[in-house]
């Protein structure tokens, strides 16, 4: 059993993916659901504090590579990743092709590999596997928009990957070859560059401002199931990496101290606010969910920044629940897109009449993201918000997170369902979503409520014990008030002031700088470097070389003419005759055909000149 117990769960998906193209469609559909299900059951069965698959590959490292490290933190992420994969592939039952599935399985395998790897080097390997596989998932939409988005996506992720790699190498070198990925090795007190590079690399993937605009650019451009799969893993794997790196160390835990890093709190707050502001301006339902992902990931980054045991547990709980409700919201929107071929509020509306079940699931997802009582969001998000206070009664991160909570109620909780399923009836009467999609949404909806009602079960999966009393009377009342206050605000803006009308617009994001900047850079380099090239050609090739050629071409005949001029004069030739002679000389010089006598004469003159000069030099 030992060998089996040491097998990294990522390999189930990665090796299993290779068989997908070989299978006939009917078997493949079952197989891609069974594969993550097997991984899920295996992860649940994995005993904690197991390590395995240790490979001593490099001589410069003190410890071997560790492809399997099981503790509560990695197990929590592993369970939700595998569970979400099962449900996503149920949703994707309609997909006929196999290339998407292979890429998706490799991608999810990469995510599982990253959360279960015990050292920084194997983390990096799986990190890059995710980047490559997810790019293929995006391209599989096969539109020009998808190709462009995939290109930008892979460029920014290669940048993030390189930053991470540089950070890992510097950190390993700083730690004397210790490659283990533990908070002790991400020691901020040392203030060396490796840590900053690692954080920058992770923040690219978590969608932090200003490097996070790839998220809203690429996920809605991917295929329906592609976007669904992507929405769960890249940001959450990065959250895992932050929680792992900035959580409390063993010593801090024993002393009851916190890990964390204050700048991350602010990064998280900015993400949370950025997400809701952009979601407010957005007209595309899938892009709203993408901004909601950024906003919610912001909460988890705050959790990592606070770094107390409770904050790390809270961020883990929120990551788990977030995977569920974002998937649910994405599925309901993807089902609408699948049936109507439209994803913009300006094209959608009144769909409750023909897609009522999808509406119900969307509302459950919306309630969960809004952290309504008895949903998963209510028992996970408040832990982070409470921990952000760090013992005081008021601070700015706390207020910003509360505002972001209201914002998420506003756009994902109210605006999204309203403009898709109610709002202006555009006369669309599509069929209800297919059974496989409805079934997948049903499972997620049940899980969203299950997590909220059975909070102790959720808390039992978390890395550290949680004493948070989510269902105290005051908390329920406060959240109820917050939701009603936000709903009233929405109602007044929508119906009384009538200022929420969706507009067929897009909003400029930070990607403007590289989407506009790189063509500008290209043009600049084109103009400057090619300009230098052109200048060099004109001056050196066309002008100077030409002049030198003409000079040496004409020089002998000119010298001859100068020499012969006195001779012609002595012979008493007329001006015209001299000119004729000159012309003849030029012709002969160009052709290199001088009469022998003339050549001999010139040679004698030259020798005479030479002896004259040497004579002068001797004197």
């Amino acid at each position: 059993m030992n060998l089996f117990a040491e097998f990294p769960p990522a390999l189930i998906l990665i090796l299993g993916a290779l068989a997908v193209p070989l299978l006939p469609l009917a078997i493949r559909r079952i197989y891609v659901i069974a594969l993550p299900l097997a991984a899920l059951l295996y992860i649940i069965a994995l005993p904690e504090s197991t390590t395995g698959w240790e490979v001593g590959l490099f001589e410069f490292t003190k410890d071997p590579l560790q492809f399997l490290r099981v503790d509560k933190l990695s197990k929590a992420f592993g369970i939700i990743f595998a569970l979400n994969a099962v449900i996503a592939f149920i949703f994707a039952f309609y997909v006929k092709g196999s290339s998407q599935h292979v890429a998706a399985l490799l991608y999810i395998g990469g995510a599982l590999g990253a959360v279960f790897s015990g050292d920084l080097l194997s983390l990096y390997v799986f990190w890059e596997l995710m980047a490559v596989a997810s790019t293929i998932v995006i391209i599989s939409r096969k539109t020009e928009q998808a190709k462009g988005a995939a290109f930008r996506y892979v460029m920014i992720h290669l940048l993030g990957g390189l930053l991470l790699l540089a950070g890992i190498i510097l950190t390993i070198q700083h730690n004397g070859g210790d490659i283990r990925f533990i908070p002790e090795n991400i020691n901020l007190a040392d203030k060396h560059w490796g840590i900053y590079f690692i954080v920058a690399g992770i923040l690219v993937n978590v969608g932090a401002v200003p490097l996070g605009s790839w998220l809203a650019d690429s996920y809605p451009s991917a295929s329906l199931t592609g976007g669904l799969v992507l929405s769960a893993y890249t940001t959450k794997t990065s959250v895992y990496a932050l929680l792992r790196g900035f959580g409390p160390t063993e010593a801090q835990l024993a002393a009851g101290d916190a890990g964390g890093w204050e700048p991350l709190i602010w990064v998280g707050c900015i993400m949370a606010i950025y997400g809701i502001i952009y979601a407010f301006l957005e007209n595309d339902m899938l892009r709203i969910i993408a901004f909601a992902i950024v906003s919610q990931a912001g909460f988890m980054v705050v959790g990592a920044g606070v770094g107390t045991a409770a904050a790390v547990s809270g961020a883990t709980a929120h990551a788990m629940v977030c995977v569920l409700y974002i998937s649910l919201l994405w599925m309901s929107s993807a089902a609408v897109l699948y049936r109507t071929g439209k994803s913009k509020f300006t094209d959608l509306g009144g769909l409750y009449k023909s897609m009522p079940l999808t509406l119900i699931f969307a509302v459950i997802g919306a309630a969960t993201i809004a952290a309504a009582p008895f949903t998963g969001g209510f028992v996970s998000k408040p832990i982070i918000i409470a921990e952000s206070l760090q013992g005081s009664y008021f601070n700015w991160p706390w207020l910003l997170l509360e505002i972001a909570s209201v914002g998420v109620v506003f756009h994902a909780g109210l605006k999204l369902p309203y403009f898709v399923f109610f709002g202006k009836d555009r006369g669309l009467r599509p069929k209800e979503a297919p059974p496989s999609m409805l079934f997948a949404m049903l499972i997620l909806a049940i899980l969203c409520i299950f997590a909220g009602v059975n909070k102790d079960f959720l808390y039992s999966l978390l890395p550290y014990d949680v004493s948070f009393k989510a269902y105290s009377w005051a908390k329920v009342v406060h959240q109820f008030q917050l939701l009603m206050g936000a709903a009233l605000g929405f109602y007044i803006l929508l119906k009384v002031l009538k200022v929420l009308k969706p507009t067929p617009t897009i909003s400029l994001d930070f990607d403007w700088f590289y989407r506009k900047g790189t063509p500008l850079l290209y043009t600049g380099l084109d103009k400057s470097l090619n300009g230098i090239n052109a200048f060099a050609k004109t001056v050196f090739v066309d002008k100077i070389a030409d002049w030198v050629c003409r000079f040496f071409d004409a020089a002998p005949s000119r010298a001859l003419c100068a020499l012969m001029f006195p001779v012609w004069k002595m012979k008493g030739l007329s001006e015209e005759a001299i000119e004729d002679q000159r012309e003849m000389f030029y012709r002969m010089a160009r052709r290199g055909t001088f009469a022998i006598g003339l050549t001999v004469f010139l040679a004698v003159v030259l020798l005479a000149l030479l002896s004259l000069f040497t004579g002068i030099a001797a004197i």
Binding site: G341, K342, V406, P434, L483, V499, I506, S507, D509
Partner: protein
């Protein structure tokens, strides 16, 4: 889309239902304020230093909406562009590999 032969489900479009929903909504708003006066919170300490009877979270929810609206609307003037800003807007083409028989 083919017109459906059975009568359409349009419950939310009925004026009576809309009125009822609106009343329920206002009722819930008022209820959320009233619940502030139920006293199970023995150690109340307002985050803003407000006395116990102020429904701070209701105000926060409403005020945050207003703030988000104002900030986003203002930024919208600067950031909003036409849909074809980044090039031609494509149709929402779906991947070819969709099984039509399931639709």
């Amino acid at each position: 889309m083919e017109p459906s032969t059975t009568k359409e489900f349009d419950w939310f479009d009925k004026p009576k239902v809309r009125k009822g929903l609106f009343r329920t909504f206002i009722g819930l708003c008022i209820l959320s304020i009233i619940l502030q006066f139920t006293p199970p919170d023995a150690h109340h300490h307002g985050h803003f230093g407000e006395p116990w009877w102020v429904p701070a979270y209701a105000i926060l929810g409403f005020a945050a909406c207003a703030v988000i609206f104002l900030v986003a609307k203002t930024l919208g003037f600067v950031l909003k562009r036409k849909e074809d800003y980044w090039g031609v807007v494509e149709d929402e083409t779906l991947p070819e590999d969709i099984d039509e028989s399931i639709r």
